[in-house]
């Protein structure tokens, strides 16, 4: 099914790249407005405390300070992406170290910072709880006494203390499944707090303009959803708020958050001037919205012949102080606790738990890296206990085309087994290992493209140049280039003749924005639809100009061709049309994507070498095999694969925000370690023959595929190398050394 495309499938370099590397691209922190002030926040040093009093009088007197506000100065309303549980500024209580307690707007950032030192807050410390299991007991302090009153709280409410979401997935009869099993295995896995480590920290600018409209610049990838959240907390009509586009310096799931925007408005209001707030990385690491730590217990019933018969999963996610930073309240990826395997009896419980830790948010394939590490490690523990080869054990159980997955979903054209086979074959699964303490590990996961809503317009001008207009921010993935290719292909134009204009939130009704591997599918379909609409209009006009019927006119390589052989250049049609109309011709499409019928599997094999004397792990090679659709742009596609693998490697081996009593200890990117180029292994990418997808030209999403299976593959390779499992991430030298010594007794 390889169709001949001219622009689709080409390695087109990203359009905005030159602007970025030359410093021309405008990010939020580049926005400067006349009279603009700088906002800074004072954060709580305690994980749980009552605010007895705040005295801001000394700060207010500092020259250059225009406003100092506390929770008492602003309306008592909470904000959230769905669950509205987070105060804009703490009122009576603080629930984590780093919570915002007061804010200052001043003429420059140093003055603002100095003013913070002049704010006196008296706290009365309260008993705190950091461990989610402890938080779930009745003995733990209840962190949100008014939970039931929060808008967005899922119903029915959990009776368990500090649990704000309890999700269940059920298939078959779990008890019966265990009763019918010959063997039962149970293991618990622990994953860490992880920061998205984007280059650009959270920033925003808020200006209340002379018409009373609130102008917002923020590095938020979901501006329409941000507008809804802001309208709710500010109690303003949405139309009164405009979110203006900016480049976003990396997202990885973290930039869907409102962060300081709600507060910035109150500062701007109090000061009567525009205000800018930019977090530094210390604040990012102390109070961003990182990936949830997970505590995952898997219990599996096995048939003696190696078939998985029952799976019970309990995933406990430490959400920290607030649930506001998640668009769905829970983490849907917990539904992957069965993995891509045929399992007749499944029961999954997933808990979101409040503790006095940093509130967590979304990060690249929310919950899937956590549960996939657990599921894939558990698979190897079972395989080894049963004397099965981990690859063959997976092949025996992996979903086949036509199967429903462990939570009952059915996908078209399941190629999980193919992905596993290709990964194993490419990695030389059965080849003898070069030396002792080297190991191979295999892992698999899947990610369907996310659905959403998108609006696009494609215009063509008198020169035959097209422009794609969308309210879709650039998060650095190269998506706009891919969308230009989609438009160019449809109009048979060279890609250089298709430009992009990023619009603000006034321009269209709604756009979901990037997230959940959605852009190529949802926004791709709207761009495609708009281009098709324009092509149809041009075809009708071409037929008119050529004096034929529209259905006899076809567009090929920039030229309209009538049945009788007469032809007219597309740009001439456009010129004539624009001359007649007096404005550019425009095609439009608003697309609401139904849930995708396809998912996309990614299987990986890691090869590691362990130094048994220091415990250091070196990943020598990683094979990543992808069940793809049409690859629209091999450069951006590969960029997503490579970036994901590297992020997965950091998750597996080194990245961890360590906390003590709720206080994040690793407050710099020296202490919070992300991989460097020297840590990156040889990467071999295998793309399966494209076989359909819901996005334009039978393509699929790729953004959240490669990051998910990495930790499982590396953990299993380390297990293979040292003969002892490590059930806690990251797999540091210290833990490996301990595992080796534990095994030696």
């Amino acid at each position: 099914m390889v169709a001949a495309y001219s622009v689709v499938g080409q390695p087109v370099v990203r359009g905005e790249g030159a602007d970025k590397v030359s410093g021309q691209a405008i990010y939020t922190s580049d926005i400067t407005l006349p009279g603009m002030l700088w906002g800074q926040v004072l954060r709580s040093p305690f994980p749980h405390a009552r605010i007895v009093s705040i005295d801001t009088s000394r700060a207010a007197q500092l020259p250059g300070v225009h406003a100092v506000i506390t929770g008492q100065d602003i309306p008592d309303r909470r904000v959230g992406r769905l669950l509205r549980d987070c105060p804009v500024l703490a009122r009576d209580k603080v629930l984590f170290v780093g919570e915002k307690v007061a804010a200052v707007a001043a003429t420059d950032p140093d003055v603002a910072e100095e003013a913070l030192l002049l704010i006196d807050v008296e706290y009365e410390e309260l008993p705190a709880v950091f461990d989610p299991l402890e938080a779930m007991t009745d003995a733990a302090p209840t962190l949100h006494e008014n939970l039931a009153s929060y808008p967005g709280l899922p119903r029915p409410m959990s009776p368990v203390n500090n649990v704000f979401a309890h999700n269940v997935w059920d298939k078959g009869e779990i008890e019966q499944g265990f009763a019918e099993s010959d063997l039962v295995f149970e293991h618990t896995f622990t994953t860490q707090l992880m920061h998205q480590a984007y280059l650009e920290p959270h920033a925003c600018v808020v200006d209340i303009d002379s018409d009373g409209r609130v102008q917002v610049w923020a590095n938020n990838k979901g501006p329409f959803m941000l507008r809804e959240q802001l309208a709710a907390v500010w109690e303003l009509p949405q139309e009164q708020i405009r979110i203006n586009p900016c480049s976003i310096g990396g997202d990885f799931g973290g930039k869907g958050s409102f962060m300081d925007v709600p507060l910035c408005y109150y500062l701007a209001q109090a000061a009567g001037r525009p205000v800018k707030m930019v977090m530094d990385y210390i604040q990012e690491l102390m109070a961003g919205n990182p990936r949830h730590p997970g505590l995952i217990t898997l219990k599996t019933g096995m048939k003696a012949d190696g078939r998985i018969w029952a799976r019970q999963a309990r995933t406990v996610f430490n959400s920290g102080a607030y649930g506001a930073f998640k668009p769905r309240v829970h983490l849907r990826g917990a539904d992957h606790s069965g993995g891509p395997y045929r399992i007749p009896h499944v029961h999954i419980d997933s808990y979101m738990v409040y503790t006095n830790n940093i509130p967590c948010g979304h990060m690249r394939a929310p919950a899937k890296p956590q549960v996939t590490f657990a599921v894939e490690s558990h698979m190897d523990l079972i395989a080894r206990a049963m004397g099965l080869d981990p690859y063959e054990f997976r092949m025996l159980n992996v979903l086949q085309d036509g199967d429903a997955n462990p939570v009952g979903e059915e996908w078209l054209n399941i190629r999980a087994g193919d992905a596993l086979r290709q990964a194993a074959e490419t990695a030389g699964w059965y080849q003898p290992k070069a030396k002792p303490y080297t190991g191979r590990g295999i892992s698999i996961s899947d990610q369907p493209p996310g659905s959403g809503q998108s609006a696009a317009e494609v215009q063509i001008d008198a020169d035959g140049k097209a422009t794609l207009l969308m309210s879709l921010w650039d998060t650095g993935t190269g998506a706009h280039t891919v969308l230009r290719q989609v438009v160019a292909e449809t109009l048979t134009l060279p890609v250089e003749d298709v430009g992009v204009v990023i619009q603000d939130t006034d321009a269209v009704a709604f756009e979901s924005g990037p997230g959940g591997s959605r852009v190529t599918y949802t926004s791709g379909q709207s761009a495609l639809g708009a281009a098709e609409d324009l092509r149809e209009q041009l075809t009708v006009l071409a037929a008119e100009y050529l004096g034929g019927a529209a259905d006899s006119v076809t567009l090929q390589a920039g030229q309209f061709q009538a049945g009788d052989g007469r032809a007219m250049q597309l740009k001439d049609v456009a010129a004539q049309a624009v001359a007649t109309l007096g404005e550019p011709l425009s095609g439009q499409k608003t697309y609401t994507a139904p849930p995708s019928e396809y998912t996309s599997y990614c299987a990986q094999v890691a090869e590691v070498e362990v130094d048994p004397e220091t415990g250091e792990v070196t990943v020598n090679k990683l094979v990543t095999a992808h069940d793809v659709g049409t690859v629209l742009n091999p450069l951006t596609h590969q960029g997503q694969i490579e970036g994901g693998v590297i992020q997965g490697l950091g998750y597996a081996l080194m990245e961890e925000m360590e906390t003590e009593e709720g206080r994040v200890s690793t407050l710099s990117l020296g202490d919070y370690k992300i991989p460097t180029i020297k840590d990156i292994p040889e990467l071999v990418t295998v793309l399966l023959e494209p076989a359909g997808g819901p996005a334009p030209f039978a393509s699929k999403g790729i953004g959240e595929s490669s990051n998910t299976p990495v930790a499982g593959a590396i953990a299993n390779a380390v297990y293979d190398a040292i003969g002892a499992p490590i059930t806690q991430l990251p797999i540091t030298a210290e833990r490996v050394l301990r595992a080796i010594r534990g095994k030696e007794g």
Binding site: V97, G670, T676, R741
Partner: protein, 333 residues
């Protein structure tokens, strides 16, 4: 960031004067700035004046002298790592320098700054934990996470000295030349670093206003007939391949003649508040025929006085194994 006055003196005397001028303003030396500016931005220090050494003559460069090598304090780590004489004759130092931090930091960071950098203990670096080293009233590590802290030599404070070059210099009988208001003095490297038992707020013997000017490496003593220049090696265990401090590191230098070890120097990093001389290993090796060396046994002598804290027992295992590897490497063939 706290504002400060930035000065660029053109002579050493002027630099010392700016560091000590009344009224005291907490004046600090800046070399490459890769640690100093972090400390200011993180709010650990708030100097009123920063004194750059960039314009002071004769602090840069590596010179061969009658006695050996003389390295200016402003020499960058990258230059140190690339220098042919250091690579050939002082290999452990070249390896320590070439493998530390990142290429960017090695290009701006200086040897003087590397030796004088402040500890990485994350309580020291954290804005919310005013520990003893910052003039506070307690050591937060005692009730906290100690996985990166010391296994020996702690005394109220339990840091490890972060410098890799310091460990390598410790096996090379290096001396540190220091200039101050009262003239200059020269300290053996073993006296340059001081533990928390001496003063919990600093890591070196430098007095306020003193500047490290040069680091001198004596030429290794001539060995008898059949003698080779001593070989040295630097090994470092870490959590990522670049931009990461040592979990444990070892520098070893052995002078061997006629198959017998004439001189042995072994030092460990990542285990103590100062570079740690593994005297027991040295004693075991000194005078021993290389054919009779049991590297694994040498390893077990690495830290006879180790008293690991709750989370860092693994460092002792690493130290034993790294010493074993270093000794095996230097006595092979």
């Amino acid at each position: 960031m706290h504002p400060f006055q930035y000065t660029e003196p053109q002579t050493l005397a002027e630099a010392v004067a700016l560091l000590t001028a009344a009224p005291p303003v907490d004046a600090r030396i800046i070399a490459g700035g890769s640690d100093l500016l972090d400390e200011v931005k993180e709010g650990i220090i708030a100097p009123g004046r920063v004194v750059s050494l960039a314009g002071v003559p004769d602090l840069d460069g590596i010179a061969e002298t009658d006695g050996g090598l003389s390295i200016g304090a402003m020499t960058t780590i990258a230059d140190l790592a690339a220098h042919p004489v250091i690579r050939a004759g002082y290999t452990a130092l070249a390896e320590a320098a070439g493998g530390l931090a990142t290429p960017q930091i090695r290009n701006v960071g200086t040897l003087g700054g590397n030796l004088n950098q402040r500890p990485r203990c994350w309580y020291y670096r954290h804005p919310l934990t005013p520990c003893l080293k910052k003039g506070g009233d307690r050591c937060y590590a005692l009730a906290g996470n100690t996985k990166y802290l010391c296994v020996t030599g702690g005394d109220r404070c339990y840091i490890v000295h972060p410098s890799d070059t310091a460990v390598a210099l410790s096996v090379m009988e290096a001396t540190i030349e220091v200039a101050g208001a009262d003239g200059s003095r020269t300290l053996p490297i073993g006296d340059f670093f001081v533990g928390p038992g001496v003063d919990v707020t600093r890591e070196t013997a430098l007095e306020p206003g003193e500047v490290v000017t040069r680091i001198n490496l004596p030429r290794p003593a001539a060995l008898g007939a059949g003698g080779q220049p001593p070989g040295s090696v630097y090994l470092k265990a870490r959590e990522r391949e670049a931009g990461d401090f040592a979990l444990v590191s070892v520098a070893a230098r052995l002078g061997i003649a006629d198959g017998v070890i004439q001189q042995a120097a072994v030092a460990l990093g990542g285990v103590a508040p100062v570079p740690y001389r593994a005297r027991a290993v040295e004693e075991y090796l000194q005078g021993r025929a290389i054919s009779a060396v049991d590297a694994a046994h040498a390893g077990t002598l690495a830290l006879p006085d180790a008293r690991p804290m709750t989370d860092n027992g693994y460092k002792v295992v690493m130290a034993n194994n790294l010493v074993k590897q270093a000794v095996a490497r230097l006595t092979a063939g």
